[in-house]
Symmetry: C2
Subunit: 343 residues, 2 copies
């Protein structure tokens, strides 16, 4: 089958690999109908050290179950499923608490197991991992359903962590697909003011369509001052940190209001959280991490199916499997917000 392999920063290839096949009795094989490229894939696209064997990329997909191992009970051949970006057994103490991304037998697609930018993908812990759609999804909804495998659930996680509440002020750092889904999540939870922090015209327009009320395109201290001016001088109750750089984290600490919270979902490319004393004296909460999107699908899917939220609008380009490398290039060049892959 054809699959996406990254060999080093900037070097993404589509190659023939062995067909996905059952290895463990709890595995399933999913024929990928739609996958996508994630903003987090751009971090290795910029920084990855050369690797001889390469990395099998992709952690977001929907598709049809093609085969199941002998110990798979719940998932069946022919089921249409959402594949969350992390696999999890659904039964350990962490899964039971809704933190599937810390599953004792879990891991991440594209890291601990080959990824989903491919014609098919092996799903470890299939019964815990896969979300079976109750009815075949309408083709028009497919893009939005696909976002439940990562970016919409991740935006929701950021908003939950940041404690978004009705009538309150929110800032979303980053205008990538996760940031845009963060705007949807903040709006969905009833925030009154939603400031999108970004500088790409197409993304800002979409953020406004999703419910952003203000735009801040400055960075660093200028951004902090603009946010303060927009919020009566105090900053925002909730910051959704959807970038993961040292600068964005410093900005987050600068714009959060006393007693407020920062929900981190941008994969951190920094080693420490800055301004520990300022954050202390202002009683700031810093939280977040890999979103347990598996646990959020039950809550978010009805809003997608009934059209109350349209996170699928973050996709603005569609490619076949052979064009995936060009998809990476386009997202990295900010020509595209998010690329859908139809293998």
């Amino acid at each position: 089958m054809r699959a996406t392999i990254m060999y080093r920063a900037g070097d993404v290839r589509i190659e023939d690999v062995a067909d996905a096949a059952i290895v463990q009795p709890t595995d399933a094989i999913v024929r990928v109908t739609r996958a996508c490229i994630c903003g987090s894939d751009l971090w290795p696209y910029k920084l990855m050290e050369p690797s001889e064997s390469g990395q099998r990329m992709g952690h977001e997909a929907v598709g049809v179950v093609e085969d199941v191992g002998p110990e798979v009970r719940r998932v069946k051949r022919g089921d249409f499923v959402i594949m969350p970006f992390a696999f999890s057994d659904g039964s350990c103490q962490f899964c039971e608490e809704g933190l599937n991304t810390s599953c004792e037998r879990g891991g991440f697609f594209g890291v601990q197991t080959p990824g989903a930018q491919a014609e098919a993908v092996r799903i470890p812990q299939a019964d815990g991992t896969l979300y079976v759609l109750p009815a075949p999804a309408d083709d028009a909804l497919m893009a939005s359903v696909l976002t439940l495998s990562d970016v919409m659930g991740t935006g929701h996680h950021a908003a939950l962590g940041a404690g978004v509440q009705p009538g309150k002020r929110v800032a979303v750092i980053g205008d990538g697909a996760v940031g845009l889904c963060g705007v949807i999540a903040a709006r969905r939870m009833g925030a009154e003011q939603i400031v999108i922090m970004g500088r790409h015209g197409d993304r800002i327009e979409l953020a406004k369509a999703f419910g952003a009320t203000d735009v801040v395109s400055e960075r660093g201290q200028d951004a902090v001052e603009r946010i303060r001016a927009l919020t009566g001088g105090f900053g925002v109750h909730s910051v959704l940190e959807c970038v993961g750089s040292a600068q964005s984290m410093e900005t987050a600490m600068g714009i959060v209001r006393p007693g407020g919270a920062i929900g981190r979902v941008g994969v951190p490319h920094y080693d420490v959280i800055p301004l520990a004393q300022q954050g202390f004296y202002q009683n700031i909460t810093v939280t977040g991490g890999p979103a347990p999107v598996r646990a959020y699908i039950d809550e978010l899917l009805p809003d997608v199916v009934e059209g109350r939220i349209e996170p699928g609008r973050v996709f603005d380009r569609e490619v076949g499997i052979e064009q995936v490398p060009d998809g990476y290039r386009a997202m990295d060049a900010r020509e595209s917000i998010k690329v859908m892959v139809r293998p």
Copy 2:
């Protein structure tokens, strides 16, 4: 009147100062019946740079209202009051949210206004700041009532921030008065396992009396390994960080379970929060700061009055105003857990 002034690390003197007097129309004057020395006073006692004018110390007290300014409405002469360590107007947006330590017109005793290790103290924003006891407190309860001005409310804040829940595992870093009150708070919220981390025999005994179930006296990586061994390998759900050093914060990050939380109440003597990536991948929450103890008295006072909690047991020495310098010495030498001052 006599008052405590610190001039530099290790140099605490009792001197004659001008009597406390109304300055603003919203002030009150409180005759101090009991004050105390705080673990946080030991930070300047170790580190304070020389100062010609010195610092008027003390931020915990109970006493009797002796005078009120013309705009004070609620508090009256003769009222017996608790003085929280921060003053606050009780009416700004932050006070209304229960975050009195971020009051727009607030500040800290001993920092923005002279402290309470003195015969009397001026109380800014008296109506918002002072908690009037409904009935004169029994002398036997006075020590516990006094802890509501800081340490008991601060331990409660740490436990709240750390998300202590019934049946869960908690670690308390630090066996000072705040850590000991953290044990009380964790027990009060129903924690099943409470690990006290400290190494002073008398404090550990008191921690056990307050509900600690386990003791870890190691530090650094050894402490992390001991906690893991005591908690099935995963760490604790909640960490109450009651020290404020870089090492204690690193320990906190090392012993917290995925999805868990750290409530910081030790005044931080570090600039950054370490292990930002590990904390992210484990979805750790870091929160806390100066406790809005004013907001907690309503909840905690009945437990004190009805004897369900006895935080006053942290006091193991009593001095007059002239012996306050020796009280600092004794606490710094760990001869005393917490010193009560009867001016």
